[in-house]
């Protein structure tokens, strides 16, 4: 049964132009598609293969390639399998189509991605602030946003080094990070 389904799914996916399919395991398929072919792929998967559940849209910021990667995870309750559809869009202007008309939960995911990465989804019902309602800085998950610099600029930090810890360190205990292994800069008062 499952073998038959696999072939059937492969045949179906071959209908999309420029698709690359990688089978990660018996129940996971990764499909890389050009950005303009994604709505057609999702429509096929939803309408003809039973992938009715959009479980998440994730976003990756590939700042060196100047691209955003969007990953649409769709799940089928019939074949118990997950298809992850990967697309790449240009970082500027960072606009893509909404899939709200296919999968209604996409409204929330797109709103979240808009807030965290600043990608605008055309046709999404609501692009208002979602969780960061009191945040007026840049979208914080973009790679060019330096969270550490923001913290150093806006917030103070204090060392926690009570006497009992100093005693432990003097005896050779405690957690000591040598300077060359300290990855982050900490603001000193």
């Amino acid at each position: 049964m499952s073998q038959e389904l696999t072939h059937w799914l492969d045949d179906l996916l071959e209908e999309i132009e420029g698709i690359k399919i990688r089978r990660k395991s018996s129940r996971r398929v990764r499909a890389d598609v050009p950005a303009d072919a994604l709505p057609a792929l999702l429509e096929l998967l939803q309408g003809r293969a039973g992938y009715i559940h959009l479980s998440a849209i994730s976003c990756v910021d590939w700042i060196e390639d100047d691209e955003f990667e969007l990953v649409y995870h769709v799940w089928s309750y019939e074949s118990h399998s997950l298809v992850s559809a990967h697309i790449r869009i240009a970082r500027e202007p960072g606009v893509y189509l909404s899939v709200y008309d296919l999968y209604q939960p996409a409204g929330f995911f797109e709103r979240d991605i808009h807030e965290m990465y600043g990608i605008h989804f055309e046709g999404s019902p609501n692009m208002e602030k979602f969780i960061l309602t009191e945040w007026d800085g840049p979208p914080p998950m973009r790679k060019e946003f330096d969270s550490e610099a923001y913290v150093n600029e806006h917030l103070n930090w204090q060392e926690y080094n009570p006497p009992w810890l100093q005693e432990l360190i003097a005896e050779g205990g405690g957690v000591i990070i040598p300077p060359e292994e300290q990855r982050f800069s900490r603001k000193k008062d």
């Binding site: 960061l132 309602t133 009191e134 945040w135 800085g137 914080p140 946003f145 969270s147 550490e148 923001y150 913290v151 806006h154 917030l155 103070n156 930090w157 204090q158 060392e159 926690y160 009570p162 982050f184 900490r186």
Partner: protein
């Protein structure tokens, strides 16, 4: 040999010779009947149910959870405080009746802990409200929580735990830090300056440039309109 004139005379509380006894008694009672409001902001909250329930049982120390800030004595901040949450924490803290005590549980309340690098969390809780006691750890076990609470009880009994007065005496400092984080239009529904006058706790740091800024834009507080049903109806046009 010391003459009777050399014996120090405590001049305060001259009127009633029993006043100091009463003070001691009041402090004793206060330290034995503590109601905690646990504001579970982060992961440290998971250590509180075992501390409250039969295994460690903080009720044997006279400490009980309480449902509302008005009735609570201790505000437990368990874990990281995001900047959005911090606003609510400050509102909650200001609603509590004095004397009130704040305990910061977990490393995150000390300096941000593992979230020190995050844009969304406040780092030093004691910049925004006076903290009586920190229980550091990630996370502190219920034994540590209980030890910290016992230490707070001792400090209340000995009269050292009076950091709540500091919020009134140095309100300008705390308000300044809050304004730095939340913007200049930050205002809470509680009028701290009037309250400080009420408690007779106006200090040198109560008023300053930050409270001036507050007074410039402060909207007078109005009672909420108590109506049933009207707001729920669809507007008819």
């Amino acid at each position: 040999m010391s003459s009777i004139k050399q014996i120090p005379v405590i001049t305060e509380r001259k009127g009633n010779p029993l006043a100091r006894v009463f003070d001691e008694f009041v402090r004793f009672c206060r330290s034995r009947s503590l109601f905690i409001l646990h504001y579970c902001t982060g992961c440290g909250a998971i250590e509180l149910p075992p501390a409250m329930t039969s295994r460690f049982d903080m009720e044997r120390l006279g400490i009980q959870p309480m449902v509302s800030p008005r009735q609570a004595d201790i505000l437990l901040i368990t874990g990281y405080v995001s900047i959005k949450t911090l606003k609510r924490v400050i509102l909650t803290y200001e609603q509590m009746g004095s004397p009130k005590y704040v305990i910061g549980i977990c490393s995150c309340t000390v300096n941000g802990g593992m979230y020190w690098q995050s844009y969304a969390t406040a780092k030093k809780l004691d910049e925004y409200m006076p903290v009586d006691l920190y229980i550091a750890g990630c996370m502190p076990r219920p034994e540590a929580v209980l030890a910290g609470l016992q230490k707070l009880m001792d400090r209340i009994h000995s009269g050292e735990a009076n950091s709540w007065e500091d919020y009134f005496r140095n309100y300008d400092y705390y308000l300044g830090n809050q304004q730095k984080l939340f913007g200049e239009n930050w205002q809470t529904p509680t009028d701290i300056i009037t309250e400080a006058k009420h408690y007779d706790l106006i200090g040198e740091g109560t008023l300053g440039k930050h409270t001036q800024l507050l007074e410039q834009h402060q909207k007078p507080l109005e009672a909420l309109d108590m109506r049933l049903g009207h707001d729920l109806k669809e507007p008819t046009e």
